[in-house]
Symmetry: C2
Subunit: 174 residues, 2 copies
């Protein structure tokens, strides 16, 4: 897929087909995260890949709106060195999600409210930060996930603010 | 450019040719940021584009290692709603940098230590967060920027840790 088209067409997907993603493809996605830039090339991340169906279901319960993780083909818990690494973690996550999208694989970050529960479940060391859990899988074209329906149609929609509302030239507000 | 190739080949570029980037291309890059996903589609960002040569030089002095901003064709100061938006800001920044890279435009985030100075200079409202300044421009193949030479050859290199060192399966450390 063309890079620019991949970037501007990427949408969050929360409803997945019950179809496995080949391990080779998972590794391609992880490598896309690996090649992300980071401040002084610290590469402050670790990826915990979860594929076990029961563990995906358990993992999905640590966030309020993370039910989509249960139906994912796999999830990547994105672990950072510290809470100062959130910007770099965002870059890394975007690389992985775009790499998936370029092969027709949808994804969505899940915010984890029950940090203690998820950290214990995943065995994350005390000095690391669990940033987010990314779900991945082939999109279900019926988009049956209730959250997805709500998010798309009611709460926020899938559109974006006009470019002019988010751009200034030379100084803020100009 | 192929999306996956764009993602895994992207490197930080700090040395730029003295060549303008057409405004149409700048807008394509901004649109790539605009289409980034964000938590509940909040789109918590604002882009302050700086092209004026003297303002780029001034902006470059607010960070310890941000000299590359002075030589950029343009810079994007990435402003977020709050410090809780750093992960989404990272996703958005990566979209813009990859969109540039797909058209042969290099980029690098500059961490801004003198936040008060940069915020006043850019006119950023008190309730917003200045996340980073992204420099953009056509790469100088001679890579003459001193920081670039140092970063590449001495301090950190441009490589990445082996994938296996940053991946676990099912739980951290496995």
């Amino acid at each position: 897929m063309d890079a620019y088209r991949c970037i501007v067409s990427k949408r969050e997907v929360r409803s997945f087909l019950p179809r496995e993603v080949p391990e080779e493809t998972i590794r391609r996605i992880l490598k896309a995260g690996r090649w992300s830039g980071s401040s002084v090339n610290r590469q402050p991340w670790h990826f915990v890949v979860v594929r076990d169906r029961e563990r995906l279901a358990a993992l999905s319960r640590f966030g309020r709106f993370s039910g989509h993780v249960a139906g994912a083909a796999f999830a990547v818990a994105l672990v950072a060195r510290s809470s100062r690494d959130l910007f770099d973690a965002g870059r890394c996550a975007q690389n992985m999600m775009l790499a998936g999208w370029s092969e027709g694989i949808g994804s969505c970050p899940a915010t984890i409210q029950d940090q203690d529960g998820a950290r214990a479940f995943l065995g994350i060391p005390e000095d690391r930060t669990l940033v987010t859990v990314l779900s991945f899988g082939y999109p279900d074209p019926r988009a049956s996930h209730p959250i997805e329906r709500v998010v798309r149609r009611v709460i926020v929609g899938r559109g974006r603010r006009p470019l002019e509302s988010m751009v200034s030239w030379e100084a803020f507000g100009r």
